[in-house]
Every structure is written in structure tokens, then in C-alpha cells.
Amino acid sequence: MASSASRTENTRPRRVSRFLTRARGVEAVAHGVAFLAASTIVAITALLVFELWINSALSRHKFGWDFLFTSTWDPISGQFGALPFIFGTVVTSALALLISVPLGVGAAIFLAELAPPKISDALTFCIELLAAVPSVIYGLIGIFVLIPALQTIVPPLKSVFGFLPIFSGPFYGVSIFSAGIVLAVMVVPFIISVSREILLAVPRDLREAALALGATRWESTWDVVVPFAKTGIVGSIFLSLARALGETMAVTMVIGNTPRIQASLLAPGYSIAAVIANEFREAAGDLYTSSLIELGLVLFALTIVINGAARLLILATTGKAAS
């Protein structure tokens, strides 16, 4: 009886305080779970760097920095140099940019400056779908459509430009050139959609001021709007460069997989991602595997640097437009 009385007396404050502690408990749990998820991402990334570093130790210790500057890739004698792959990766990506930058920036200018908003939105939607096409599909098109087409287009071109070292030698279809073209088509959507966003962020008054001073539409775009957005556009190009460097499947399917450095773009080559895709599974021996993992580490470092630069450049422009 007495206990029941004391319970009624204390019910309210005790219930409130119990509710409060429980709420605080739930609050702490919710916060904790979200924090844990965020920490997991940091942990996974740290683990990734750690695994790549540890598992490439054998190759790093054996070859040191020479790994990056020697071009013998001979699994049988145990000599591994990354230069042919670095060369192939860089040249294919550069070629891709050479084609995709004018195309992408041009299209971005059209979509941001000229096209009526409805048409621009519809076309941008198509461009974004193009970005969603899986890379293995680009590889498929590359093998069965692009390469046969190049085999008919290139020989006449060669008869004209064949004296240039970059167009010398026989052409088999699979080549650095083919890989560059496939990569160009793959990165164009990224250049377009990022550059378009950046151009749209350029303040309206700049265009109006230029037009009011008598500039033509093109002059206001090219001499006023584009210079204002230049840093950001360069950022979008870096972003695409990072994608092109790391692209695996489509390149593997058309580059020819030959670890040699040759002046001719029409010669087959090899890229970092492609050699990993082709040889990793079959690599016999720890040093071989370790060398391939070190190639992965090199590719990782390369894309991190390029991605970081891209992000800074894009931030610099969008920040400028906002201020």
C-alpha cells in the first residue's frame, strides 16, 4: 500500500526524467550510428591505401623508382618496368582530350548560351544518358564497329600522312589511336555536363553588358562568358582526364595489349588499367602480382592528383560566380 502511494507521488517526475534519458539515449544512438557510417568510409579508404601499399612492397623494394622509368615487362625473367603502360595510358588519354575538349566545350556553349531552355534540357538529358552507358558496351562498339570502320578509313589517310612518324607503320585496327577515339566518346558527356553547369553559373549581367556594348552573340560568349568560366571548364577537363586514365574495359578491348613504346599512334599499345585487367588473374609468382598491384597504386595516385586539381579548379570558378 505504502509503496503504491509513493509510486503515484513520484510518477510524474520519474516518468519525465526516464523519458528524457531514453530520448537522450536514442538521440545518442542515432548520432552514433550515423557517425559510425561516416567513419566506415574513412576506414575503407584508409584500408584501400594500406592494402595497395603493403601488397606492392615486394615490387617497390626490388625496383624502387626505376619501376616507373624502365620499359622491360618480362614476367619470365622477373623484370617489371611500368613505362610502356604509363606511356599508353597518358597518350590515349591525351588523344581523347584532344578530340573531346573542342567537341565538349562547343556543345556546352550551345546548351548553355544558345539553345532555348526546353531544348537544352532535353539534349542535356540525352547527354547524361550517354554518360550512363557502361564501358563494356563502348568496348563492344569499339571492337565490332569502330575498328572495322577505321580499317577502311585509315589506309587512305596513311597514304597522305604516312610520312609523319605518328602515322607510320602498319595498322591492324587495334591501336593507341582506336583507344583514344573510344575514350573521347566516353568522356565527352562529362565535359559537356560539367562545363554547361559552369557556364550557366556565369552571372547574366556579363552577357547583357557585352551585348549592350555591341558585341555579337559569339563575341559575348567567347570573349566574356568563356574567359570568366575558364578555370571551371579546365576543371571539367581534368575530371574527364581522371576518368580516361582509369578507364579499363573499353581500352582493354581496342588498344592491342602490346607493352611497347612506339611513336606511331597506329601501333598497338597497352595501358595500366588494361594490363591489370588482362594479367592479374593469371599472374604467377609474388613479384609479378606485386608489380601489377604497384601499377594499381601508380594509377590510383595519378587519378587522385588529377581529381584533386579538378575539384579545386571547379570550386574556384563557382565560388567566383557566387561572390
Binding site: 558496351i137 582509369g246 594509377l299
Partner: protein, 283 residues
């Protein structure tokens, strides 16, 4: 003098503006070319057998990719179960709880993870799981794709949560709701449409990934029960068949490419129209 100058300026204007239009047409043309070609080539080679039969040895013709379709579904399911919760919760953390210093670390690291080339992700999961378990498995493939899903899951969650007006949060808090209750019952439901479509785009993106599966899920000519065996997936199958010397396998690769592209594009279009209809409603 001024007459010729302005003529030149007018000509430059017209030529350059049309050139940008041509660039756009070319870029959009690529999409329609790829779509059209796959529709033609892949649609022609597609048959019921593709969906119901197992692959046959190279010396025979016919067969299908039923196991690869099931395999892709299985690997993607695991990837979603792993990548979406982590990315979603971390996104909630950044948008609603984050302490300034730690948040910028998480954002930086997420960008880093997003930039990891897919083949490097394959190596990572190989050393992490395949080496330790000593065999290729569906599990390893799912983990590789799951990790790849995290950055986009995080980014789309954070972005759409941030787009929820603060007045909603303040309203809920003023009514006495606690922080987590506000987030769970007011903020997240307000952003759910956007987050959902972000997750769909994310899934479509990894559905086409091949490189991370090459030495994690590997491949298989048969069914792969459980999580501990190598498993066939659609993108890896396309790759293996495309580089094979057999015409009948090329035919299958086109059919598989058609199915993969159709799935990816349907999910993309659906997800984007979900967002678009949401925006329309809000106006």
C-alpha cells in the same frame, strides 16, 4: 571599312554558333548511334533461350545467359545491401549531425573513394577478400560493387537532405520532436524521392561495371548457389564473349549488351523522371 569588319564579325558569329550546334548534334548523335546499333544488332540476336538457358561450350552454338542474369542480380543485391546503408547514414550524418572538421575529412575521403579507378577497386577487394578466403566468390564481387556505391549514395543523400528547407526542421523541433525524430519523420521523408532516385542511378551505374568483377566474382559457366563460389555476371560475360574468336559468342555478347543497356537506360530514365515530377509538384 566598318562595313567589311561587321560583315566579318557577323560571319564569325554565324559560323561559330553553328559549329557549337554541330558539336551538340555529334554528341547526341553518339547516343542515338549506340542505341540504334545495339537495338538492331542485339535485338536481332535476342531470343527466349538467352533468358532461360545456360552458356554452352565454344564448339556449340545456342545457349543463353540465364546464370549471368541471376548472378548480376545477386551481386547487385549484396552491393546495395552494403553500399546504400553506409552511404545513406553517412549522408545523414553530414547533412544533419556533422562536426565541421570531421565532416570535411569525410567529404574529402568520399571524393577520393569516388575517384578510385574501378580496376583498382578490383585489386583492393582481391587482396582484402579473395586472398584471405583463397577463392573467387559472389561475396567478393558484391563487396567490390558495394564499396563503389558508397560515395554516390552519400552524395545524393546529403544533397537532397540539404535541399529540405530549415523551416521544416524548426517546425518539428518547435512541436517538441527530438533531433533524431525530426530527421527520421520529417526531413528524410521530405527528401525521400530524391534520395531514392539517386540510389537508382547509383545501382544502374555499378550494374554495368566490369573491371571490379574480373578478379572478384570471376565468372562461371554454371549456376552459382550460395555466396562462396565464382559467379557469372552480365558485364563480365559480355567482355569474355566479345574478345573470344567465335561468331556465336559475339552474337551472344550483342544480345547481352542490348539487355544490359536497356536495363541501365530504363532505370536511368525512371529515376530522372521521379526527380523531375517531384520538382514539378513542388512548384
Amino acid at each position: 571599312m566598318t562595313g567589311t569588319l561587321s560583315l566579318r564579325r557577323k560571319a564569325t558569329n554565324a559560323i561559330m554558333l553553328s559549329a557549337t550546334g554541330v558539336c551538340t548534334l555529334l554528341a547526341v548523335g553518339f547516343l542515338f548511334f549506340i542505341l540504334g546499333y545495339l537495338l538492331l544488332q542485339g535485338g536481332k540476336d535476342l531470343s527466349l533461350d538467352f533468358f532461360t538457358k545456360l552458356p554452352v561450350p565454344e564448339s556449340e552454338t545456342g545457349g543463353g545467359m540465364a546464370n549471368a542474369l541471376a548472378g548480376s542480380a545477386k551481386v547487385l543485391l549484396l552491393a546495395t545491401l552494403l553500399g546504400v546503408p553506409i552511404g545513406f547514414l553517412a549522408g545523414v550524418y553530414l547533412a544533419e549531425y556533422g562536426a565541421v572538421g570531421f565532416s570535411s575529412v569525410v567529404r574529402f575521403v568520399t571524393d577520393l573513394l569516388n575517384g578510385v579507378p574501378s580496376i583498382v577497386m578490383g585489386i583492393f577487394v582481391y587482396t582484402l577478400i579473395v586472398l584471405r578466403m583463397k577463392h573467387f566468390s559472389a561475396f567478393a564481387g558484391g563487396v567490390a560493387l558495394g564499396i563503389m556505391m558508397i560515395p554516390i549514395a552519400l552524395r545524393s543523400t546529403e544533397e537532397f537532405l540539404r535541399a529540405v528547407p530549415d523551416s521544416l526542421r524548426e517546425g518539428a523541433m518547435a512541436l517538441g520532436a527530438s533531433k533524431w525524430k525530426t530527421v527520421a519523420t520529417v526531413v528524410i521523408p521530405a527528401a525521400v524521392r530524391g534520395i531514392l532516385s539517386g540510389m537508382m542511378l547509383n545501382l544502374a551505374r555499378v550494374a554495368g561495371e566490369t573491371a571490379p568483377l574480373l578478379f572478384t566474382a570471376l565468372g562461371n559457366f554454371y549456376w552459382s548457389p550460395g555466396w562462396n563460389q565464382p559467379i557469372a555476371t552480365l558485364p563480365v560475360m559480355i567482355y569474355n564473349y566479345a574478345i573470344s574468336p567465335y561468331a556465336d559468342q559475339h552474337r551472344q555478347a550483342w544480345a547481352a549488351g542490348f539487355v544490359l543497356l536497356a536495363l541501365v537506360l530504363v532505370v536511368n530514365i525512371t529515376a530522372r523522371s521521379i526527380v523531375a515530377s517531384g520538382l514539378h509538384k513542388a512548384r
